[in-house]
């Protein structure tokens, strides 16, 4: 029943072309190379009997006489409710952790249909991560999609790993794209303790570029399976710029006309199709997406961060090794901050205001202006704020973060020097010894 072909007519970049009949758009094909190994490919264009295939592992070593077999189905994910935990796969869903293939799996199509907007609900549940700059200052909300804007060299992968270990979620799915092999090893070792709720899809920089493009779809299709079964899933992706660059590479090989800095015209739609998988399902689970997006040249108007900004609900801005409280924004934080503790929002605003004051004093100081004694307090406060709150090593539950906030403020200021409501000061200002 399966159709076998042995005459590849064109090989061009990651794309091969042959003549075949009865092939479906999007169908998966297997190419048996002359060394006996198999490589997989997907139908990306049909024209009469000409079939264009995108070869996942690249066309290196593909011969015109190699055997092509069409498998009669789309790219699928081997899903299993219990046997995926702690496993690591590549972009096409094959295990790369040296262990046996996953048992008892069901085939699930990837890049499935879109969630019906009429069935969406207003997000309302906070996800605690233990990181004050997130929980207290820009709370992450279930079903939110947030990028971590950063630049090469910043510790965005350690931050993701920390979130993977600390965040309140039932299932964590990590999708690595274009990772340095060292980074993969880091994730593997660092996240060993979280493996009972962790699934990884990893593409490293030396892997074929097509596999890079598949990682988010694999990760999100897996997430969808768990979410529809009532699980709260947190999907961590790194790095979406590598994903976009992979798309650019394929688009150019396909001779598509580039739109902006070489990226294809559908960059926005492609990114949105992935990010919009984030959802809170009424009476069931949820998918939350945190995705590292490195900005070439720290330029937020670069097409990848720019298009991302229009899709996501805010951004974390990781700069100088810390989550910058001024550049970061969680657009959904208001909905959950009301429900945490009555001092949450006012304390957050007061602390940021004071820290902004500290920043200004530092500027003045650097320009040689003299500073007042109040400015000295601001400087001391700023230093302690950075040390005890902005430091990514800090891991505290939200209640403790708030208490710590009061402690830091009280250590440097009098109650009347901070713009906090009287009733909150009475309730929370630490007693002086």
């Amino acid at each position: 029943m399966k159709k076998i072909y042995q005459r590849i007519e064109r090989i061009d970049g990651p794309v091969v072309m042959l003549r075949a009949k009865g092939v479906a758009y999007g169908e998966l094909a297997r190419i048996r190379l002359n060394d006996g190994t198999d490589t997989y490919a997907q139908v990306i264009k049909l024209r009469d009997d000409q079939v264009s295939l995108q070869v996942f592992a690249g066309t290196k070593g593909v011969g015109t006489g190699d055997v092509v077999e069409f498998l009669g189905h789309q790219v699928q994910l081997a899903y299993s409710e219990t046997n995926l935990m702690g496993r690591t796969f590549n972009g096409v869903g094959e295990p790369i952790d040296g262990r046996a293939p996953v048992a008892d799996t069901a085939a699930v199509a990837i890049a499935g249909p879109s969630f019906n907007p009429a069935r969406r609900i207003i997000p309302s549940k906070m996800i605690q991560t233990g990181i004050p700059m997130i929980d207290m200052f820009n709370s992450l909300v279930e079903s939110q999609k947030l990028p971590i804007f950063s630049v090469a060299g910043e510790p965005y992968n350690p931050l993701l790993a920390r979130i993977a270990k600390q965040a309140e979620a039932d299932v964590i799915i990590l999708g690595g794209m274009g990772l340095k092999y060292d980074d993969y090893l880091f994730f593997r070792d660092d996240l060993a303790s979280a493996r009972d709720r962790l699934i990884m899809f990893i593409h490293t920089a030396s892997d074929p570029v097509v596999e890079c493009m598949m990682v988010p779809d694999m990760a999100l299709a897996t997430a969808e399976q768990y979410a529809t079964q009532g699980k709260r899933v947190l999907v961590l992706l790194t790095d979406m710029t590598a994903f976009s660059d992979a798309m650019k590479e394929i688009a150019v090989a396909m001779e598509q006309i580039p739109a902006n800095r070489g990226y294809p015209g559908d960059l926005y739609s492609q990114l949105a199709a992935r990010y919009e998988k984030a959802v809170d399902i009424e009476g069931s689970g949820s998918i939350t997406v945190l995705a590292v997006t490195t900005m070439p040249g720290d330029d937020v108007t670069h097409p990848v961060p720019d298009n991302t900004g229009y899709i996501t609900e805010g951004q974390f801005y990781l700069k100088g090794g810390v989550i910058d409280p001024f550049g970061s924004l969680s657009r959904l934080k208001q909905v959950v901050n009301k429900k945490t503790r009555d001092d949450h929002a006012p304390l957050m605003n007061a602390m940021i205001q004071l820290y902004d004051g500290c920043r200004k004093v530092r500027q003045q100081q650097s320009m040689g202006f003299s500073i007042s004694s109040y400015d000295e307090h601001l400087l001391a406060y700023g230093g302690e704020f950075e040390e005890r709150m902005m430091n990514l090593e800090v891991n505290l539950p939200l209640e403790k973060q708030l208490d710590l906030g009061w402690q830091i403020i009280a250590g440097h200021f009098q109650p009347r020097q901070v713009s906090l409501p009287e009733n909150l000061i009475e309730k929370y200002w630490p007693a002086t010894e």
Binding site: G22, P117, A118, G265, D266
Partner: protein, 603 residues
């Protein structure tokens, strides 16, 4: 009558068909995708190019699984929308499929190939005939009415009929379903046609069943002070809101959909976040519109093709929305249509153009981008309607489109093509939003062509001399900004007290009038009287020749005035605070007007 065709090629959401017979441009086609079990899936598509015996079509669905040689049915119908009672409060996808009903059929996820009628087939409507047997009517004339929400929904002679028709039969008043025949007409050619409450209209064609188009002369109040004063929007006019991400496009758009003074509001959520639609969807049914006493949802229709839904349907969605807008305009209503975002629509055009391998224009957008945008905005307008029974009325469609320029740079093709055709430009800037000055509409870069053309109507609302006053304040503000820029270079010390005070006054005007708190129930929705009053009061402060001894005092006093004014903005009309802040404002103005300047004292 359908033309048979087969699939000859598939490239993403474009399918090439080989056909026998005839096809029509923009006709609807269905690609028949057989299933292992059960009925085949029918994928809806639209013919967008014909070459010899082949035509290209954009498919409104995912094309995975399509095989060369599969059957395609090409209909003779253009891509059309059902029009009739029951559209209000609906939430549909870009093709007019009601999303709630889709969810009832297919659950959480949208299922491809599932299409449902836009209008509820079971609901009964209390129909009252207006036309009588023997009457001679034209397209758009009323046959009868049904109550829908706060309006009388007019059931009209189908818009596509050319020439005079004769009413042969009508049904008596009663409760009917939409598909029930309510009249029988004799067409100009002599043939008879049964008419129900539903008619189909091809979305890409404007409805032209009106007497004439009129020059927009009446403002559409938005309750956003900077718009209503500096850059007014006209009923039947057009406006665009470009802005980078994070500049508050969504909040502004939602404010317009809430407070915009229109009878019907149509929101086309075109390629944007689904989450934003959800807010509207969940909140509007709870919010009461003080003008009608009904919920906001009852005047709202949402056409929702969010960013992850099929791209071709995104292209169709703005046309679907504007067709609904024109339909309610035909009933003599004032319709406001918000398209968010037209950039996503333009990107859908670009994707299709790329697949068609057309020669690209700037940033790979098709060369016809400008004319497509122009003809879309041209569907806005104020029209005169004449009806034998209901007399002469006007109806309007006002179109406000947001634009999402790449990198926030207004020089890009979509923003530029849009600016060329709209009457009002509300440019959101990153600088203003970063400084937390909301709405972040730039008072310097934005413009409205309607400020002068609506002079008499505006003065009727806000008082004699309004337009000139507004112009003066615009100039005053611009001068204040120039001083501010100068100050950044040469420092405050170099400015005279007079010039420095001018700067402070401009800042005050910005803070208390141009800026507005969208999250305060009072400040987000001021009455026109209150806008006029706030303007007058701010103007008084600006015009007042204060006698400050020095710059520090000037700053302190004006900051104090700013703070009092802002508190007054937040106080509801009948509260103690309202009066108290007003009195305090008066007192401070008095105090500093009476004092003599240092120069006068020493002289």
């Amino acid at each position: 009558m359908t033309t048979k065709a087969v699939v000859a090629g598939v490239n993403g959401n474009m399918i090439t068909a080989r056909f026998e017979g005839t096809v029509r441009m923009n006709a609807v086609a269905y690609v028949i995708l057989p299933q292992k079990s059960g009925d085949p899936i029918r994928l809806k598509a639209e013919v967008i190019r014909v070459r010899n015996d082949e035509c290209d079509m954009q498919v409104f669905e995912d094309t995975r699984g399509v095989v060369v040689g599969m059957t395609i049915e090409i209909t003779d119908e253009l891509l059309a929308l059902e029009l009739g009672p029951g559209l209000l409060s609906l939430v549909t996808d870009g093709l007019g499929n009601p999303l709630e009903q889709l969810a009832q059929r297919s659950g959480y996820f949208l299922q491809r190939g599932l299409y449902l009628p836009t209008l509820d087939r079971e609901k009964q409507w209390a129909y009252t005939p207006v036309a009588r047997v023997g009457d001679r009517l034209h397209a758009g004339h009323t046959l009868g009415t049904v109550p829908e929400g706060p309006f009388k929904h007019r059931i009209a002679v189908p818009f596509g009929i050319v020439g005079e028709v004769e009413v042969l039969e009508t049904v008596p008043a009663g409760n009917y379903r939409v598909e029930r025949e309510i009249a029988r007409l004799r067409l100009p050619g002599g043939e008879e046609r049964a008419v129900s409450m539903v008619q189909q209209w091809p979305v890409k064609k404007p409805i032209r069943a009106y007497v004439e188009r009129l020059l927009p002369s009446k403002p559409l109040t938005t309750r956003v002070r900077i718009i209503d004063s500096f850059f007014p929007i006209a009923e039947g006019g057009t406006a665009c809101i470009p802005g980078p991400f994070g500049a508050g496009k969504t909040v502004l758009q939602q404010a317009l959909s809430r407070f915009g003074d229109a009878d019907v509001v149509i929101v086309a959520a075109c390629g944007e976040r689904a989450g934003e639609v959800v807010e509207t969807l969940r909140e509007f049914p709870e919010l009461i519109d003080p003008r009608t006493g009904r919920t906001l949802m009852e005047r709202t229709i949402i056409i929702c093709n969010t960013s992850s839904m099929p791209v071709a349907a995104r292209e169709a969605s703005v046309y679907t929305a504007v067709t609904v807008a024109e339909y309610y305009r035909q009933m003599g209503l004032r319709v406001l249509m918000l398209a968010d975002s037209t950039s996503r629509w333009a990107q859908a055009l670009r994707e299709m153009s790329g697949r068609l391998e057309e020669i690209p224009g700037e940033e790979a957008f098709p060369a016809y981008l400008g004319s497509v945008i122009a003809s879309f905005y041209e569907r806005a307008g104020l029209v005169r309607l004449e009806d034998p029974y209901l007399g002469e009325t006007t109806g309007s469609v006002t179109v406000v489109g947001t634009v999402s320029p790449a990198g926030g740079n207004f020089e890009e093709p979509v923003t530029q093509s849009t600016l060329a055709v709209v009457g009002c430009f509300l440019g959101l800037t990153y600088a203003r939003s970063y400084a937390k000055r909301f709405p972040a509409i730039s008072p310097l870069e934005s413009w409205s062509k309607y400020l002068d053309s609506m002079r008499s109507e505006l003065e009727g609302i806000y008082g004699e001399g309004w337009v000139d006053d507004v112009r003066e304040m615009q100039n005053h503000y611009a001068e204040g900004q120039r001083i501010g820029d100068q100050m950044k270079v040469i420092g405050e010390e170099e400015l005279t007290l007079e010039i420095f005070t001018h700067y402070l006054k401009a800042e005050l005007f910005d803070a208390v009038f141009l800026q507005q708190n969208a999250f305060s129930d009072v400040d987000a929705n001021p009455s026109t009287e209150r806008v006029a009053m706030a303007f007058k009061l701010a103007r008084r402060i600006v015009d007042q020749p204060f006698t400050f001894p020095d710059k520090d005092t000037a700053r302190d006093v004006l900051l104090n005035l700013t703070s009092l004014f802002r508190n007054w903005n937040l106080a509801a009309e009948d509260t103690d605070d309202y009066k108290r802040f007003l009195d305090e404002l008066e007192a401070v103005i008095e105090e500093w007007s009476g004092k003599k300047s240092l120069a006068e004292v020493t002289a």
